[in-house]
């Protein structure tokens, strides 16, 4: 994959301390996991829940639990905005600010002392999912009979604006390395590689601590987009291609923020109830990384950081400027929200006619032909041969388009049309 150099916009939030916002009056815990709303609800109205209590569990094969992020009384259930653009059912809890935690089984003194089975059980029960944005259950990656040779820790963060992974490395580097070391020992992994972009300062932080861990290495990858994509990363570091999942080649890839979540789960038995979200963009008065409880309404957080610079022509974007989508102010913090951006709205002119310059084909990291997909949205057979399902929605095709056509939208539409046709 060649990748494309795109503007970074990371200076807005880089090198700022992580701010903590942990005092929401009411939290709305979305009953959703990986866009799957098929959840068994385990609480009812007027129940008292402690922080970390299980509110529901996902049905089906990935039985990931959903935890309360505050202690208090369940006020009921409400539909709230979720970051995929739909409304989802949420458990409404009134915060009593006591931060009461239910009794938990004792944790082992040293995090390397767990067996593999215990390790998988803990990260499953803690509801650890990929914090990079996909929210794939982490325990599934380790719950395999196949020998894991390599753990790749993804600290690339190639989307512009987002710095939450950098921020956590700056503040929690020791803990992260300790966790990687534990994961390597517990799962009998040969080596761990931390992938960092060339020219990123966090390498200095990591180098300060890495000396005591012989199995952990740092690998610098080119500063291009979308380098953080699993497939591209593995190709770059290991020069290996795989079909569906990296485990086929004995590789597990975890986001560096996920590693820290695993650390907290192993060390303190703490479930995934808070995460770092980058609030950035030209239109916020004070862009910064904030540690927030899951279920906090974003409106409250935005007010706490001073609000917007101006109030018109803003795009509020969740999930990054390349892959994200606009959301309303009613959005709720969920475990897959890595950033919230307030951007100047630029799209005023309608797109021009497609010039057929082929630039979208040149840049596509998934080797698709976006312009041809755009042309054959209604032709099922042609569409099938163009395999739009390979699209990772990185947005480079739209980024590069000289006619300013949202090619990415067309390819996503192509995926949908293909699914409709199959039915």
């Amino acid at each position: 994959m060649k990748g494309v150099k795109i503007p970074k916009h990371k200076k807005l939030t880089q090198n700022k301390k992580i701010r903590i916002y942990n005092k929401p009056k009411i939290v709305y815990i979305p009953l959703v996991s990986q866009n799957d709303t098929n959840i068994t609800v385990m609480v009812k109205k007027d129940d008292y829940v402690c922080k970390g209590d299980i509110l529901g569990k996902r049905k089906g094969s990935f039985r990931i639990p959903i935890h309360a992020s505050v202690s208090g009384i369940v006020m009921g259930f409400e539909e709230k905005d979720y970051m995929n653009g739909y409304k989802v059912k949420c458990v409404v809890i009134e915060n009593d600010f006591k931060e009461k935690v239910a009794d938990k089984p004792n944790v082992k003194k040293h995090i390397t002392d767990y067996t593999k089975e215990e390790f998988i059980e803990i990260i499953k029960e803690a509801g650890i999912v990929g914090l990079g944005g996909a929210a794939f259950p982490t325990y599934v990656k380790y719950d395999t009979k196949q020998k894991i040779n390599t753990l790749i820790v993804n600290a690339v963060e190639c989307e512009p604006y987002i710095t939450s992974d950098y921020a956590i490395v700056e503040e929690k580097c020791e803990e992260i390395l300790e966790a990687i070391d534990a994961i390597v020992k517990i799962n009998n992994i040969n080596e761990a590689i931390i992938a960092i972009k060339t020219g990123n300062d966090i390498i200095n932080v990591i180098n300060n601590f890495i000396g005591t861990y012989p199995k952990i290495k740092v690998h610098l990858v080119p500063n291009v987009y979308p380098m953080g994509w699993e497939k591209a990363l593995i190709k770059e570091i290991k020069n290996i291609s795989y079909d569906h999942l990296p485990i086929e080649k004995g590789i597990v890839v975890n986001n560096i923020s996920t590693i820290y979540a695993i650390y907290e789960a192993l060390k303190y038995n703490k479930p995934l109830i808070e995460r770092i979200v980058t609030f950035s963009g030209e239109m916020f008065k004070e862009p910064q990384n904030i540690l927030v409880k899951i279920g906090t309404p974003i409106k409250e957080i935005i007010e706490s950081i001073g609000g917007y610079k101006r109030y018109n022509d803003i795009s509020l974007v969740a999930g990054g400027p390349m892959m994200g989508m606009t959301v309303s102010e009613e959005l709720i913090i969920s475990n897959n929200l890595n950033c919230l951006l307030a951007l100047k709205d630029t799209e005023t002119k309608p797109p021009l006619e497609c010039l057929r310059c082929g630039k979208c084909i040149e840049v596509c990291p998934a080797k698709l032909s976006p312009v041809l997909i755009k042309d054959s949205l209604q032709k099922y057979n042609t569409l099938q041969s163009l395999e739009p399902n390979r699209c990772i929605e990185c947005g480079l095709c739209s980024y590069i388009c000289p006619a300013k056509i949202n090619v990415r939208k067309c390819v996503i539409q192509g995926k949908k049309n293909l699914m409709k046709g199959e039915k």
Partner: protein
């Protein structure tokens, strides 16, 4: 009141713009237009071959192309699509209405009457562009479609007007364009290049040809600039020109011609201009990288086929128009090959077989004509009831032998020497050599030469063989 916008990402865009791409093309066309002004305006004016109007005529010609092209599109939008005000303005600004006319004026002969140019622009805009739904939807390159219609309907009118030659060249140059003689024979440095000076003139562009096409150097600079700024699909001209170079090198080499021959081929006939500007027209060329490479390969093959195997000397424009029709197939192959390269295998193998096969075939087809004995000439022939009498001449040892050979029903019945001053000539008649030859004419290679007069006896032998060939040719025609 807060105001939010909604939509799907990405929310940051590159500074790529359609207008930037078009501007880059215009930038590189400016030196070409200036060179055209120098070659077709200033030089003839300097040598007093033309008046003040003639001085500026090349610029006027291009301007008329630009204006009429814009005019036709405006008229179509205004009258038929009924666009008005902002909508009309937007359409005219965003669909690059002047390009078809600009290109058309640059590929037409300078002696094309202006009304034909205006008509060509009409064809280019209406037939080539608007009927397909306007900018971005056309299948054929609009300018080339206009060119094809003009050349197929008015080529005799244009060539009687002087064709490609400007008023300075019209006196000095024998043949209209360097390539126009290639279909009959492979040519030599003396016939192909020397009438126009040397290869350097081809490089600079001071040879006869269409307004914008002659300067290989400016096209090359344009190619470098456009590739560097990522404006054009650089693979197409690169592969196209390379293919023509390789094939003509092959053909030239088989006929004992040097490296000048392929260089001559790629620097004439508007190949560079067509490859760099017309074949890379984004709308009508493949979008996939593999599609672009195949497009270039087949353009090269087609151009060579048209140049050598058809009566039309210049194949660039027709090749591009033909390949325009196949773009969707090439893109289909190109798109699939991105997942699995084996999909392209057949097309690449086909292309390479064609390059090799055609190169060999064309190269060798000239070889046979090249072998015909230049020393042999048919002076006269008469046919009388299956009896052919040839008066022929053949170069002998020190002079030419002239004789009359009678052939009846495929057999030589009589050889009469009319003229022969070779000193050894008498030895042939003394030894009854001629009669031996007539007797053993089916096995003439094994007839021994007369000792002491080998060259002369072989000359007579060759004369008989050549005459029999001529006779065979005459009889086949019937």
């Amino acid at each position: 009141m807060k105001k939010f916008h909604f939509g799907l990402g990405p929310f940051i865009k590159s500074n790529n713009k359609t207008s930037k791409i078009m501007l880059n093309v215009v930038i590189v066309l400016i030196p070409i237009i200036i060179f055209n002004f120098y070659k077709n305006g200033i030089i003839p004016y300097y040598y007093h071959r033309t008046d003040l109007l003639g001085l500026f005529y090349p610029l006027i010609f291009v301007a008329i192309g630009v204006i009429s092209s814009s005019f036709w599109e405006f008229l179509y939008d205004y009258l038929l699509l009924k666009k008005r005000n902002d909508e009309l303005k937007e359409t005219l600004l965003n669909s690059y209405i002047f390009f078809p006319g600009l290109f058309l004026s640059l590929i037409l002969p300078i002696n094309t009457p202006l009304y034909i140019l205006v008509f060509g622009c009409f064809i280019a805009i209406i037939l080539g562009k608007m009927l397909y739904g306007g900018f971005g939807n056309n299948i054929f390159n609009p300018a080339l479609l206009g060119f094809l219609i003009i050349m197929s309907s008015y080529s005799s009118l244009i060539s009687s007007n002087g064709g490609y030659l400007n008023s300075y060249e019209i006196d000095g140059v024998a043949s209209a364009t360097p390539l126009s003689q290639i279909t009959e024979q492979i040519g030599s440095y003396e016939t192909l290049v020397e009438p126009y000076g040397n290869l350097w003139n081809f490089f600079i562009g001071t040879i006869p040809g269409a307004l914008g096409e002659t300067s290989f150097m400016l096209c090359l600079l344009a190619f470098i600039y456009l590739s560097f700024t990522k404006t054009i699909k650089w693979k197409i001209p690169f592969v196209y020109i390379s293919t023509v170079f390789v094939m003509t090198y092959f053909i030239g080499n088989l006929n004992g011609l040097g490296i000048w021959y392929p260089l001559f081929q790629i620097m004439s006939g508007g190949l560079a201009f067509g490859a760099i500007f017309m074949a890379t027209d984004p709308v009508t060329s493949p979008t996939t990288p593999v599609g672009q490479i195949l497009f270039g390969l087949f353009l090269g093959i087609l151009t060579v086929i048209i140049r050598y195997l058809t009566p039309y000397p210049e194949g660039v424009m027709i090749s591009i128009l033909t390949m325009n029709m196949l773009v969707f197939i090439l893109d289909d192959i190109g798109a699939k090959s991105r997942f699995n390269f084996n999909h392209t295998l057949i097309s690449f193998v086909l292309a390479w077989c064609l390059i090799l096969g055609l190169g060999l075939y064309i190269g060798n087809s000239y070889k046979t004509t090249d072998e015909t004995d230049n020393n042999f000439k048919v002076i006269e022939k008469s046919v009388d009831n299956q009896t052919y009498i040839y008066t022929v001449s053949q170069k002998g040892f020190s002079s030419t032998i002239k004789s009359e050979i009678t052939i009846k029903d495929g057999k030589i019945t009589n050889i009469k020497i009319l003229e022969g001053k070779d000193s050894y000539f008498s030895k042939l008649t003394d030894n009854n050599y001629l009669n031996t030859l007539i007797k053993k004419q089916d096995d003439i290679d094994n007839v021994d030469a007369v000792s002491g007069a080998t060259v002369s006896s072989n000359a007579v032998k060759d004369m008989i063989i050549n005459t029999l060939k001529e006779y065979a040719g005459d009889n086949n025609e019937k």
